[in-house]
């Protein structure tokens, strides 16, 4: 079941909340729409579900034009951020709702509901009302409810947004497992990049109603095409540079140009360096691709690593993730004189 969006646009008042957006999602894929709040990602999802009207453009589900169909006729399952379980019905009755609509025979229905309760690992909770379930349990029931009528497409609108961190992680795994098990095409909307990385086959970054960039998590992290993407996904050091011949010049320093960047030759570029690609060693050591010497300005504990901020001699600040082992081995401290090198970097056309 594929999802194809062709130049869809949504207008509220004078504001284009979704702008001329095209996208193809492959069958069985879990696609994550990643964007800040207000980026238009939820509106786009609601348009696919038929909960918001599409002002321009077309939406195809499995090559069927559904642009002007009501939500009832689209065959999508929708999971809302705030669970939205029917408060007056039990968990089992909630799951059965879509089957009631289809007038499924009683016995078959009962079996299907039980199947789903087991799928979400709440086999004993069928008779509970939403108020008697925890947030995580409610969201699992909401997922089962959406899946019960065997929809062609599963749409999830920030489904874990209202949950605690550890429950969120558990549920993400569960969702990924169920989605793969059923082979259902799914779109998940989130503002949480960690969630996007963990779940997505592909991620679409959306900003101000436009789809900036689509790619696998690795592509977007390591080779983003847009500065916005680079900043939105993970942390970034930015340096101004020029690309000439086979080299990249940062001030007087010279780094070998990465592959496939010939089209940027002769241009001002921005150099993206992820903190974990930065090497920090005591002054005097040899480093690959040196950026220069500097003073450690700040060291923050960040769990598995220390986040080290170095102020280079030319005044530039560079952030690095340094392993605890290295910190101790090389005795890197506040105010240490260090030399900074880079393992990996990425070029983007100059923003200005």
């Amino acid at each position: 079941m594929s999802i194809v969006l062709e130049r869809v646009t949504k207008i509220y008042g004078t504001e284009q909340v979704v702008r001329d957006l095209s996208l193809t999602i492959e069958p069985g894929e879990l696609f994550v729409l990643l964007g800040a709040s207000g980026s238009g990602k939820s509106t786009l999802l609601r348009m696919i579900a038929g909960l918001a009207a599409t002002d321009r453009g077309s939406i195809y589900l499995n090559e069927r034009d559904v642009t002007h169909l009501p939500p009832q006729k689209r065959g999508v399952g929708f999971v809302f951020q705030n669970y939205s379980l029917f408060q007056h019905l039990t968990a089992a009755q909630n799951i059965a709702f879509g089957l009631d609509v289809k007038r499924m025979p009683r016995r078959e229905k009962k079996q299907r509901v039980q199947e789903l309760l087991e799928l979400i690992e709440l086999p004993e909770h069928g008779n509970r009302r939403p108020a008697q379930l925890s947030g995580g349990q409610q969201q699992r029931v909401a997922l089962a409810r959406a899946l019960a009528p065997k929809p062609d497409v599963l749409l999830l609108d920030e489904p874990f947004g209202a949950l605690d961190v550890n429950i969120r992680t558990q549920l993400r795994r569960k969702l990924r497992q169920i989605q793969q098990q059923l082979g259902i095409t799914a779109i998940l909307v989130t503002h949480d990049q960690e969630e996007a990385f963990e779940l997505a086959d592909r991620i679409g970054v959306i900003e101000q109603g436009e789809l900036l960039e689509v790619g696998t998590p690795v592509q977007l992290y390591r080779h983003p095409k847009e500065a916005f993407t680079a900043n939105f996904i993970g942390q970034a050091n930015w340096l101004s540079a020029q690309r000439n011949g086979r080299c990249v010049y940062v001030d007087h320093l010279q780094l070998p140009a990465p592959e496939n960047t010939d089209h940027l030759s002769g241009h001002d570029v921005d150099l993206l360096i992820r903190p974990e690609s930065v090497v920090v060693l005591p002054a005097g050591y040899d480093v690959q691709n040196p950026l220069g010497q500097g003073i450690v300005e700040q060291i923050e504990f960040a769990g598995t690593h220390e986040r080290v901020t170095v102020r280079l001699e030319n005044g530039t600040r560079i952030q690095a993730m340094v392993s605890l082992v290295d910190i101790h081995e090389y005795n890197i401290q506040h105010q240490s004189r260090v030399v900074v090198g880079v393992r990996d970097y990425h070029l983007l056309p100059c923003r200005a």
Binding site: Q72, K73, F78, F80, S84, F86, Q87, F97, V101, P149
Partner: protein
């Protein structure tokens, strides 16, 4: 310590004041009418309210109250739903209109019916004035806001996602209303219905003006009381007043209990 003692005394004084006020204002008059019921015994009262003209008046009151409740429940839910769920030009104005029957004098309501449908009225041909239909019309008017105002906040508090979830599960609008919206607003509807019934049972001014108060035709229970007072038929007036009061209070009480039971069951 002195402070606490002072609050203690304040509390006592305030409570006594409030209870005394309620006693004088509410309880004394109620006691007076209940006492009246036992002055001459029950029998004369029973006789007077089972007399043909009293029975006829009660019948008319009951029919109009039930019809009003039915109309205002259906239309009240519809109006509440439209006002909460849709946005359209003039919505605030329309929303403001709903409360108007609460503050429009019943006499003026009746007067409007005469102007519209009376002998020289704008729509005189419809022959509505001075008939039970006119009484139904004004009763529907004066009790129109109750269901709307009870249901609106509940609908507003109900997240639209509930309806949307039902739509994405394939449920039609009607099915969604029956299975999702109605169960949620039911307690509010019931409460609005009770208030509507109580108001409809006791409507006097508008019904008297619009219906004309023709004995045996457009005379409801309250108009019967009014006529009885004029005719110096005190027993008739008092017995009917007691009966109406008891019915109204009973309706309110029973529906209140029902509402409590329901809200307890849904928890």
């Amino acid at each position: 310590m002195a402070e606490k003692r002072a609050t203690h005394w304040t509390a006592l004084v305030l409570i006594v004041l409030v209870v005394a006020y309620a006693g004088i204002l509410l309880i004394a008059p109620i006691t007076a009418i209940v006492q009246q019921a036992f002055v001459d015994g029950i029998q004369p009262m029973l006789d007077s309210i089972t007399a043909p003209d009293a029975r006829e008046a009660l019948r008319l009151t009951a029919i109009i109250a039930l019809a009003t409740a039915a109309i205002n429940t259906v239309m009240g839910i519809l109006v509440a739903w439209v006002l909460v769920r849709y946005r359209f030009p003039g919505r605030c104005f329309i929303d403001g209109l709903v409360d108007l029957p609460f503050v429009m004098s019943p006499v003026i309501v009746g007067y409007v019916v005469i102007v519209l449908f009376g002998r020289e009225g704008w729509f005189a041909g419809l022959s509505i004035a001075f008939t039970p239909r006119a009484m139904l019309l004004v009763t529907v008017f004066v009790s129109l806001p109750f269901v709307v105002r009870e249901v609106m906040p509940v609908l507003r508090a109900m997240p639209p996602e509930q309806e949307e979830a039902a739509y994405t599960l394939g449920a039609s609008r009607l099915l969604t209303f029956r299975r999702i919206i109605l169960p949620t607003i039911r307690p509010a509807v019931i409460y609005g219905l009770v208030l509507t019934l109580a108001r409809a049972l006791g409507e006097f001014g508008a019904a008297a003006v619009a219906g004309g108060g023709v004995q045996g035709y457009t005379e409801n229970a309250t108009i019967y009381i009014f006529r009885s007072i004029h005719d110096r038929n005190d027993t008739g007036a008092y017995s009917m007043a007691i009966l109406l009061g008891v019915i109204s209070v009973a309706v309110l009480l029973s529906m209140n209990i029902l509402k409590q039971v329901q809200s307890r069951r849904s928890q």
